[in-house]
Symmetry: C2
């Protein structure tokens, strides 16, 4: 596996949304320095973000986003970590690992530092098993396998599109739970990776996330959040609902569990409540919408699936709030921008230079 990890240094970008100096990278140096970083600077573009010496990176601020996307930059959120998805769009690599700047290296129960990226790569390079549950969790891990009663026809699995990692210390709770349990810390290291079954939705957190850009990239849109929008902190949730419906439709896998990062800083629950409160109502209607969503058979690309989903959002969720009209349009704009920056077809690979 070490060699596979090494191999991917040319095939993986690390995307970090931030408004401050990236001191947190010092702790990650042994694991992340070999990789290229795409830093998406949120907020005031005149501010300088310091990156520790030795890291290879490109940095985009709001002015860059506006210049590169022109009018389509409206689909990229401002003053919200949702802006990170711009980094997915300008990357030219096969894999993305995205991490928040308040996430540090976790330790396993033996006290060993956890190389989160290596585990994401393991998750992404081994298949998923969405059609039947394996009670010993990921059957492809060392020391595990498919248990008695697991159909042999399903043991090849399907390609893994997404690897969702977890968080020790500060758990990813909503504002009401933060308010009720201010002191709760996650200390339970669950040594498991598992495929989220087909037909099951999950709350995808963007804090510690790996994915295969070639397989699912165009659906990893983090929506319209933050400045000028009625909602925040639902960027990753939105992406999670969309990617799961599309992965299920296209026969791709989504894994959750390992790797852990150490999440250091609980965000302010009062601020969060203001950002979240419409989402807390809306998710009661959004989730049933996604649970019932069916994509037509002729949607065979991620882009086609995503545009179809945008139509269903407009049709079914606009009655919840006019915001969803705007979001549905932004979903289409996002795909247009993605396709412009990521042309396909003959010669596309050659033409596909860096956006900057």
């Amino acid at each position: 596996m070490a060699s596979a990890t090494h191999l991917l240094t040319d095939e993986l970008d690390i995307v970090i949304p931030t408004i401050r100096n990236l001191d947190f990278l010092e702790m990650w140096r042994p694991f992340l320095q070999p990789y290229h970083l795409i830093i998406v600077q949120d907020g005031d573009p005149s501010k300088t973000i310091k990156v520790p010496d030795g890291f290879d990176y490109e940095l985009y601020n709001r002015n860059d986003i506006n210049r590169i996307l022109g009018p389509r930059s409206s689909c990229i959120s401002f003053k919200d970590s949702a802006c990170r998805c711009f980094g997915y769009m300008v990357s030219k690599k096969k894999y993305i690992f995205t991490i928040d700047d308040d996430c540090f290296v976790a330790q396993d129960p033996a006290g060993k530092p956890v190389n989160a990226l290596e585990q994401h790569i393991k998750n992404l390079l081994s298949p998923s098993t969405p059609f039947f549950f394996n009670t010993l969790y990921d059957p492809y891990r060392d020391g595990a396998d498919f248990v008695r009663g697991y159909p042999f026809s399903l043991r090849e699995g399907v390609p893994t599109a997404v690897s969702h990692g977890l968080w020790l210390n500060i758990p990813d709770y909503d504002a009401p739970t933060q308010l009720v349990k201010p002191l709760e810390r996650n200390t339970r290291f669950v040594d498991a990776v598992l495929t989220i079954p087909k037909g099951t939705l999950f709350p995808m957190c963007g804090m510690n996330l790996g994915f295969d850009r070639d397989l699912i990239g165009p659906a990893m849109y983090f929506g319209l959040m933050g400045d000028g929008q009625p909602i925040g902190r639902y960027d990753d949730m939105w992406a999670g609902w969309c990617i799961k419906v599309i992965c299920d439709h296209l026969g791709l896998g989504v894994k959750t569990g390992l790797p852990y990062i150490y999440h250091s800083k609980a965000s302010n629950p009062f601020v969060n409540l203001r950002k979240e409160y419409k989402g807390i109502f809306w998710q009661e209607e959004i989730i049933p919408f996604f649970q019932a969503a069916v994509l037509p058979k002729d949607c065979t690309t991620v882009q086609a699936c995503y545009v179809e989903l945008s139509k269903q959002v407009k049709e079914k969720l606009s009655k919840v709030d006019p915001y969803f009209d705007k979001l549905a349009e932004a979903m289409v704009t996002w795909i247009e921008a993605w396709d412009e920056l990521n042309p396909t077809g003959p010669g596309a690979k050659l033409a596909n230079g860096k956006a900057k």
Copy 2:
């Protein structure tokens, strides 16, 4: 929790299928002695099974089963641990814990003996969350909760009907995997309990299993296996497919994960291959059948669901093998026998004496 565990001594039976003296209970004494045992003796009824002193038990051999059930005893397997389900039928308690006689007390990573029954009780007394995946696993455990993005309307959960425990040391592999990996041992202690999502089937192992008899008992039929049957080692799998479809229909939960037991003895893979090989073919058709099975809305009791399922088995699986005709009939016989031994309606509780 300790008091809840104590309380359940009057509400839980432990069902053990066996052909030998129950020396394995010595190791379990601190945890299991307060409970009543129902021992289902398989094989030669003239053999005497020794039970360690101090355990409270009733024991049924084949002669007892034939006497109690009369012609309906045909639905209880012989020379196969599937016979254990007779114990579920004659119990009058709300909860069942069933365990194999080659299962010993496991240790957690800190070296502490695992009280498997206590964990099953915790699993059964706390709700399940089948409609949406919680990435921090069981949200009702100490130190855990629902994560951001989990709909508040679903946080009450649903009643838990089944608690499926796992195995350290010898994993529950099929014969081909046993043959290919004779030395593989499960050493990974995954500190998690999770709900198997609605619509997802799983391979239920009967080695270390708890369930709520009132909620799902009549569906816990382990089928026709062993003596005179073309198949073995699919008893628990059959029950697992049936209970999951019925739990999904009735809005009940199925959990898997903790507790672990220490599984000491790998069964003979050559013998297992002979028992399993038809099942290895058949499961490729049986599982899609169960995945597609829909129960009508007017099936509101476990019995009604089970009889309906038996009709669908007859209709859809008989073409796989005539065995499924016989199995479908045995499913109906099982329900008739269950209802005879477990009358409901006015005065039923009073009339409900011990079967023996």
